[in-house]
Amino acid sequence: MPAKRHAASTTSASTASTPATLSSGPATLKTNASAAEIAQHVWQQYLATTSQRTMLLDAFMAFLVLVGGLQFLYCVLAGNYPFNAFLSGFCAAVGQFVLTASLRMQTSDKSGPVVSKPSSKGKNARFVDDDDEEQVSGYSHERAFADYIFGSLILHFFCINFIN
């Protein structure tokens, strides 16, 4: 459920702030801005910095959230009679969402905004370690995509087996 809630909040945020794209918002944010302003700011930053391919993934994720939400709504309203079927449908949506999110994280890390801070303590040293690891072990986009396919295959095999 919390997965869905989080997802719902993404969509609601995006739908709420869609008009904001038309008006040109402030480029920088004041310290005590309201929540709506912050959301607007985030949305514009997002539009500005995200690559086309990542946006495609995001659109797919939004679609999955929609599918999952619809199934859940149906379950709440019309009862969960073929519970197996509902569960596998819903799990397919959630699982695919999660996998896509993972793919997005793996592929968009370098193009996206990188949160790197000057390292001063052990924790940040670890941060640097991570970056090193990711660059050295080299999760190429192809590898990430192959993993994604692998995960999705397993997911859908389970779902089809479970759907009865």
């Binding site: 919390p2 809630r5 993404t10 700011h41 569960l87 993972s102 793996q106 905004p113």
Partner: protein, 742 residues
């Protein structure tokens, strides 16, 4: 071990291959040692299935091999739990049977004709070899030292804590489950380290396999989320964590729901809720992290705190609401007994009556783990020093499983792997520091000091190190001594404590020769040969699986214990007077009653010693008719001799155990060797049952339930008539309760 001494010779890039080869050879040797140390029972006795539960697994495997997978999946077993039957296919963990079925078919395909029984007997040792390998991989993830993994593998291979459940013949779920547990944890650590979907998906696959194999999968279900939760709380959230956890959860949950016995539990049962909760939490954290990329710190803080409180409150309230309204099942009883050790005894006697659910006695830790148990804290301390993600995992696992192992004897099994990891970490640290025997020439000193300075800041400038041969020798020798003692201890424990099949008993004659007591199989074989195929056997539930497996006769209750009322019925029949029991026996079509009696031989695991549990379980259902207090004397003693209470003396169990027992002894000398008491001079009277079979050492006694009397008399009178006693008018008038049921 041998490798590290050779290391000096094999340094350099050319030595790498040699070292790799050595490592493989050592691992294979360890696996071979693990397998062969479990074969004591096969060599000493024969290739036979042990104990109780394995007999059911064996029977199910035979069914699977004969009838194919689909009919196994839909198996309704009408030969157990008479007259109810059991939906066996949907109420077991099929992983074990399917594994050995697959091995059987592969071997058949390779035209190696192996009996399915031998596969079942040798499955556990075989998998223990694999466990040692999995342990090597897991420990190698924890430490950079090459010796740690090998040490852990060796420990895991021979530690008695694991051997106790995996000797040849103990064909139980744990046989493959521990391998799966360790391997799943290895894959999980790998996934967290690499942050790849592939490792996460593999973790989920092996988790699914684990779910199909053992009910203990709940341990993984809770441990991995806890690990993630602790990491998040430590501020160590990373994309790697998100990827591995969500992949594992999404796939693993779906995978676990494929098993019919588990079904919808992962979303209904509270045991699984923590995983779901963490799944939600990590989504939120990921989203927050995503937003943070676009925002300066201040506003983000504001946004975050409000969001966290809102969502956490909502989720918690939702969970409580769902639990109260009953959508989510409450925690299972076994789970409660983990937290409150007295819970089971009060509420669920059937769980408390199993000896492996009792709290652990402290010597058991040393007995099962020997010197690992005191290296264990040192290893955990080393993990605190390094404290990377995987070390956090070790610490959490160590804390949790130490607690659980203290609560339930059988959970010693989950403690063993982590003890092996931690002890191997500690021991390899010691050996690495002490074993390098290079002479302290200036170059080596400089090198060693620079090496030291990496780990100890305080000793950066001073040339500090252990160079005297004396201290090195002392430490190394004492450690090797401990290792040798460990091996000796393990071998001794395995051979003496854990290799007895408990179907066949062995004892020593006064002259030291071995004396095999084979009463169980004698009696079961008698049943198989001398009773009709459909004869219903009533016994206490401990022997249900064995009767089903060895005698192939229908039973009333067995070790599955899914229906407490039915067990209580049997308990009531055993603990009541004949007048009460006989109608129960008739109603349940019982043809034979089987009791286990150790009085002649001094075999303490007999039914009279379990008798109080029968009484307690029966009392749980019929508190008016059965009362535990009645079986104790007025001074609160549990006695079976002259001073036993009338209720005790009249109970069916007592009568069946001691019927005709005094004929073995001179008059008035009958002695019960288990309880060490002298018995009453005359044997108890049995009216409604007749003795059918008693095994060589009197361990198993089988009684046939008499049919109704031909002349319509009740059995009391019929027996009295046969003995030539005159019918007494007075008793006729008052009369004991009439026995006719129809």
């Amino acid at each position: 071990m041998a490798e590290s001494s050779l290391d000096v010779l094999l340094k350099g890039s050319s030595g790498r291959n040699t070292r790799g080869l050595l490592r493989i050879i050592i691992l294979l040797t360890i696996a071979a040692a693990a397998v062969s140390s479990r074969l004591f029972s096969v060599i000493r006795f024969e290739s036979i299935i042990h104990e109780f539960d394995p007999w059911f697994n064996f029977r199910a495997t035979k069914y699977l091999v004969q009838n194919g997978f689909y009919s196994f999946w839909d198996w309704f077993d009408d030969r157990t739990w008479h007259p109810l039957g059991r939906v066996t296919g949907g109420t077991l963990y099929p992983g074990l049977m399917v594994t050995s079925g697959i091995i059987y078919h592969i071997l058949r395909f390779l035209t190696i004709p192996v009996d399915i029984r031998n596969i079942c007997v040798l499955l556990a040792p075989g998998f223990s070899g694999l466990t040692a390998l999995a342990m090597y991989f897991l420990t190698c993830e924890m430490s950079s030292s090459p010796s740690a993994g090998l040490l852990a593998a060796a420990f895991m291979g021979i530690t008695p804590g694991y051997i106790s459940r995996s000797v040849a013949g103990s064909y139980d779920n744990e046989a493959i489950a521990i391998f799966l547990l360790v391997f799943t944890f290895f894959l999980w650590i790998k996934a967290v380290k690499n942050g790849s979907i592939m490792w996460g998906a593999l973790t989920a696959l092996f988790y699914g396999y684990m779910v199909s194999a053992w009910g203990g999968y709940v341990f993984i279900t809770n441990l991995i989320p806890l690990h993630v939760f602790v990491l998040i709380c430590m501020g160590r959230y990373s994309t790697r964590l998100y990827i591995s956890y969500t992949t594992w959860y999404a796939l693993g949950t779906l995978g676990s729901m494929q098993i019919p016995f588990v079904g919808f539990l992962p979303i209904r049962n509270s045991d699984h809720m923590s995983a779901l909760g963490i799944f939600g939490l990590i989504q939120l954290v990921a989203f927050a992290e995503f937003v943070r990329g676009y925002l300066p710190g201040k506003q983000f803080q504001k946004l975050l705190t409000s969001m966290v409180f809102l969502v956490f409150g909502l989720g918690f309230a939702g969970l409580i609401l769902l639990s109260v309204s009953g959508v989510i099942a409450p925690w299972s009883g076994r789970f409660y007994s983990l937290w409150d050790t007295g819970y089971a005894k009060i509420h669920i006697p059937i769980i408390a009556s199993v000896s492996e659910h009792q709290p652990t006695a402290w010597p058991a830790f040393f007995f099962d783990l020997n010197f690992l148990i005191w290296l264990f804290p040192a290893g955990v301390f080393i993990c605190f020093q390094k404290l990377k993600d995987e070390h956090v995992f070790v610490i959490i696992y160590a804390v949790l499983s130490s607690y659980f192992a203290g609560v339930m004897v059988r959970l010693m099994l989950t403690l063993t792997p982590i003890v092996c990891v931690a002890a191997a970490l500690a021991l390899s640290a010691i050996l690495d520091n002490f074993l390098v025997l290079s002479k302290p020439d200036p170059e080596a000193v400089a090198k060693a000091s620079s090496d030291d300075s990496k780990s100890f800041r305080s000793s950066r400038n001073a040339v500090v190190g252990i160079y005297s041969y004396f201290s090195k020798t002392v430490v190394t020798c004492s450690m090797s001594l401990y290792l040798l003692l460990f091996v000796a201890h393990c071998t001794w424990v395995t051979s003496n404590a854990y290799s007895s099949p408990s179907v066949v008993l062995a004892s020593k004659m006064p002259d030291g020769s071995q004396f095999i007591i084979d009463d169980y199989r004698e009696a079961y074989y008698w049943l198989r040969q001398n009773t009709p195929d459909n004869a219903k056997i009533m016994s206490w539930w401990d022997y249900g699986y064995q009767i089903g497996g060895m005698a192939d006769r229908p039973t009333l209750v067995d070790n599955n214990t899914w229906n407490n009322t039915h067990i209580a019925t049997v308990g009531k029949a055993m603990s009541s007077r004949e007048e009460v029991s006989y109608p129960i026996l008739r109603q349940h079509d019982v043809d034979y009653v089987l009791v286990v009696f150790g009085g002649l031989l001094g075999y303490s695991g007999d039914d009279l010693n379990k008798f109080l549990w029968m009484v307690r379980i029966a009392e749980g259902i019929w508190p008016d008719e059965v009362n535990e207090r009645d079986y104790f004397t007025s001074r609160g003693e549990y006695r079976v001799d002259e001073e036993a209470t009338p209720t005790m003396k009249n109970s069916l169990m007592y009568k069946m155990s001691y019927y005709n027992y005094n004929s073995l002894f001179p008059a008035g000398q009958a002695v019960d060797r288990v309880r060490g008491v002298k018995l009453p001079a005359e044997s108890p009277q049995l009216n409604t049952l007749e003795e059918a079979f008693t095994s060589e050492n009197w361990i198993i006694r089988i009684y046939k339930v008499k049919d109704l009397d031909n002349l319509g008399r009740d059995h009391n009178n019929a027996v009295a008539f046969d003995k030539g006693l005159k019918r007494k008018r007075a008793t006729k008038k008052k009369g004991p309760r009439v026995l006719r049921t129809e």
